[in-house]
């Protein structure tokens, strides 16, 4: 090897406990960061899915005496048909309505004996109707009709998903902060345990920038390596989570989908940048205190 070849890569010995501390902590934090990122992405997707599923749909619930119910149903359907912003309106068949209620009331209850309201499923155009005007028309022409656009369901769901996403983002910030603190401590330990290296470099006229860079380069590369391994392990763990179907909805959709799988690729370079900033700041602070 040439005597002067890329000496800044070589002047800091590649040993010591701080080396493993950096690799392990960066790996662990990257592992957690992938899950926090997955939570943030999933929460955003969930909010979008819930909103999309409930938006552009509405229900008209019609209660009326048995002798008037058919007439009022026809009136409501007519009102809906002639209202701009309504794409379609269809009465839910009694059998279908019974099926929906069966899950709550059981199969043995004689639904025919209950005074059930008629349900009309409404699909809106993207522009949607004038809801206030529609409600006024319905109350005037069919007093027993109630227009429900699902707002009271949609809002808390969207709020819950938004808070989940905020928690995930705060977690990411905390992970970044803790990683920086650990790297700063490791950098400080690395500098303290290499006093002879610093003394020799100072003796031959090396500037603080060169000395700091030599340490920072090694620390950043190790942080990047640890983060790469941690990210890979986390992605493996995420891929191994079964995507539940059927009646289990809690975990379905948790993780990344499509191009979203590329997002965790940002974690190792971000970890390196964070390590670079934390260790550079620490190195200059420590070197200022060494004569």
């Amino acid at each position: 090897m040439s005597a002067g070849a890329s000496i800044s890569r070589l002047v800091v010995p590649r040993r010591g406990q701080s080396v493993w501390l950096i690799v392990l902590s960066a790996g662990a934090m990257a592992f957690l960061a992938v899950f926090a990122l997955a939570l943030a992405v999933s929460a955003a997707q969930l909010a979008q899915t819930w909103s999309a599923a409930l938006s552009q749909t509405a229900t008209v619930r019609l209660s009326a005496p048995p002798e008037e119910i058919d007439e009022q149903t026809a009136i409501v359907l007519e009102v809906l048909r002639t209202t701009p912003g309504i794409a379609s309106a269809e009465q839910i068949a009694p059998e279908e309505q019974a099926e929906l209620l069966e899950a709550w009331l059981g199969p043995d209850l004689p639904l025919d004996a209950l005074p059930l309201p008629r349900l009309i499923e409404v699909t809106e155009t993207p522009e949607g109707p004038d809801r206030q005007g529609l409600r006024l028309r319905l109350s005037a022409e069919a007093p027993g009709a109630v227009f429900d656009d699902h707002t009271r369901w949609r809002r808390p769901l969207a709020e819950a998903a938004g808070r989940l996403r905020a928690v995930a983002l705060v977690s990411l910030v905390l992970i970044g902060g803790v990683t920086s603190a650990i790297i700063a401590l490791a950098a400080s330990a690395a500098l303290a345990s290499n006093g002879q290296v610093i003394r020799v470099l100072r003796l031959v006229g090396a500037r603080d920038r060169f000395i700091a860079r030599a340490f920072v380069r090694q620390i950043s590369l190790r942080a990047g390596l640890g983060a790469l391994v941690g990210t890979a392990l986390a992605l493996g763990a995420l891929a191994a989570i079964p995507q539940a179907g059927g009646d289990v909805h809690l975990l379905s959709g948790f993780g990344f989908s499509g191009a979203g799988w590329a997002l965790p690729a940002l974690i190792p370079p971000l970890a390196m940048i964070l390590a670079w900033l934390a260790s550079m700041t620490t190195a200059f602070q420590v070197l200022r205190g060494v004569t």
């Binding site: 010995p13 020799v200 200022r288």
Partner: protein, 223 residues
């Protein structure tokens, strides 16, 4: 080159040098003698800014060391070669990498032939790839001297550079330093070795400084 103006240095045992003023000019050759513990190493450390004086000023190349930033001090040290008594190295790098360090760590090019020539001159050609911990005391001193002179410094400060060497090797290294001095490098060597001083004085105009009773003397008189 180096000027002490009313310099004293306090340490646990008292005050050294008693407001000494002295100039070591460019191209000069000085020996610094005195009993062990007299303060020879302290004097050398004051010369390159590892220690700061308790009183007075040390000027190197007309710059007050106490007023220098760390970067300026580093820049100044690039022009001063130092051989410490304890010869510290980067133990995980080879001898040739250590010798090249003053150039490579300061962004200057390192001609491999220069490193090889210098290692041959100090008798370490066969140890170029060796690690410093495997060297004997004398070999470490020779490697430290090679490292100190690789960058052709304006001044060489050496603390007992031949302490662990046989007479032949001591003469050889002294010849190297005399040659450097003839090329304009100021030399200051702390040593007990009177034979070495006589050898140098036979070839070059060298002055002897002595530390006695905590005072710096030249030709037997306090400065």
């Amino acid at each position: 080159m180096i000027a002490f103006e009313d310099v004293s240095h306090d340490y646990g045992g008292g005050r050294l040098f008693g407001d000494v003023s002295i100039k070591l000019e460019q191209g000069s050759f000085h020996f610094l003698t005195g009993p062990s513990g007299a303060g020879k190493s302290t004097f050398l450390k004051l010369c390159y800014g590892e220690l700061t004086p308790s009183a007075g000023k040390v000027l190197v190349m007309n710059k007050d060391l106490q007023g220098l930033s760390r970067n300026d001090l580093a820049g100044m040290r690039q022009r001063i070669g130092v051989v410490h008594q304890d010869c510290q190295f980067l133990d995980h790098l080879s001898v040739e990498q250590n010798v090249a360090l003053p150039l490579s760590a300061t962004g200057r090019s390192v001609p491999d032939s220069d490193v090889a020539d210098l290692l041959s001159w100090v008798g370490l050609a066969s140890h170029a790839e060796a690690l410093p911990p495997t060297l004997s005391g004398g070999e470490r001193q020779r490697a430290a001297l090679a490292r100190a002179v690789i960058s052709a410094p304006n001044m060489l400060l050496a603390d007992e550079p031949t302490g662990n060497l046989d007479w032949d090797m001591s003469q050889r290294l002294m010849s190297l330093m005399i040659e450097l001095n003839r090329m304009g490098t100021a030399i200051l060597i702390a040593t007990h070795d009177l034979q070495l001083i006589r050898f140098a004085k036979s070839q070059i105009n060298a002055r002897v400084l002595r530390i006695a009773r905590r005072k710096l003397q030249v030709a037997g008189a306090d400065l």
